[in-house]
Symmetry: C2
Subunit: 183 residues, 2 copies
């Protein structure tokens, strides 16, 4: 292999590494471990990978790759593929960022809505009981009412978040914000 060919290969690797670094750095803000972030970013430039290839490429242990892949599969940023002939499992990175965005945020927001709405509903029932309780003093009733109303008000946000998730899932949001609206 010639000298300049080798130089070009290195330049290509360096260019990829710039993007890999940036993706990995923003990804750990998405709640994944550094290992998983680096792994995804690396796979972004690969057709497919086996666990052993991941291990050699990142210089990490196999269990670390195994758990990272699983985590990435949970948020659907990596999928298992069947590769004829190889008995090793092979994985591919989701390269469409729109799909990753949709799965990740919908999952996150649905969890938030569910968890908080459940707590709110329970708490509101409690406040109603205090309000209806004939032994409650006026100031206690007023306090319970205040909190009840505050929670009722906050529901507007959670309903909106539900709508946002729905419009992302259905793709309706792309009618409002088209994907290809250039620069």
């Amino acid at each position: 292999m010639s000298d300049s060919t080798e130089k070009s290969r290195i330049k290509i690797e360096e260019a990829k590494d710039k993007v890999i670094g940036a993706i990995a750095e923003t990804m750990d803000l998405y709640g994944v471990t550094p290992a998983a972030a680096n792994l995804y970013a690396t796979m972004y430039f690969k057709e497919q990978m086996t666990l052993d290839e991941m291990r050699t490429e990142l210089g990490m242990s196999k269990p670390s790759m195994s758990t990272s892949v699983r985590k990435l599969q949970e948020i659907e940023m990596v999928k298992k593929t069947f590769t004829r002939g190889s008995r090793k499992h092979t994985y591919v990175a989701e390269k469409n960022f729109f799909r990753s965005f949709m799965v990740f945020y919908c999952q996150m927001w649905e969890r938030e809505v569910k968890m908080n709405m459940e707590a709110i509903e329970e708490a509101q029932e409690d406040f109603i009981n205090v309000i209806k309780d004939s032994t409650s003093t006026p100031d206690i009733v007023a306090e319970a009412k205040k909190y009840y109303d505050q929670l009722e008000d906050s529901k507007t946000y959670y309903y909106w978040l539900e709508d946002l998730v729905a419009s992302i899932k259905s793709g309706k949001i792309f009618e409002f914000l088209p994907k290809d609206k250039q620069d």
Copy 2:
């Protein structure tokens, strides 16, 4: 104070705690420490708080409250208020979840777009240099082209994310997804 009054007070506290727990639990998925998450959730039910009140209420150290408040101020979930007469600093929680949503995600997405777009632009330049290099072999040129195109394609997503941020900041998104569209 009567016995039943005391019971009602306890019921109110328990009801609040349910919501505080839920908010705090979803919040540490937003990249804040447990202390900051608990603090915000607690402040959500208070008019305003001083550092000393926070410390007693959460049973934590003052520096911990100080750093937590600062972090919450960064993502604009807490603001400092001037309280006449008191020499202690007082803080209030942002109780409008829409505003918190806007600030937090716009900040997050702007950072992601900036960081990744910068890396992409640099990498694409590198790939162009390899492509234009007369000493590059055909397969190297093909590889560089492949990566260049992949990055070019991914820009669509970042442009879209920019648009999303803009429509959130301007409030235009609420024309598409109204805040008050009931249940």
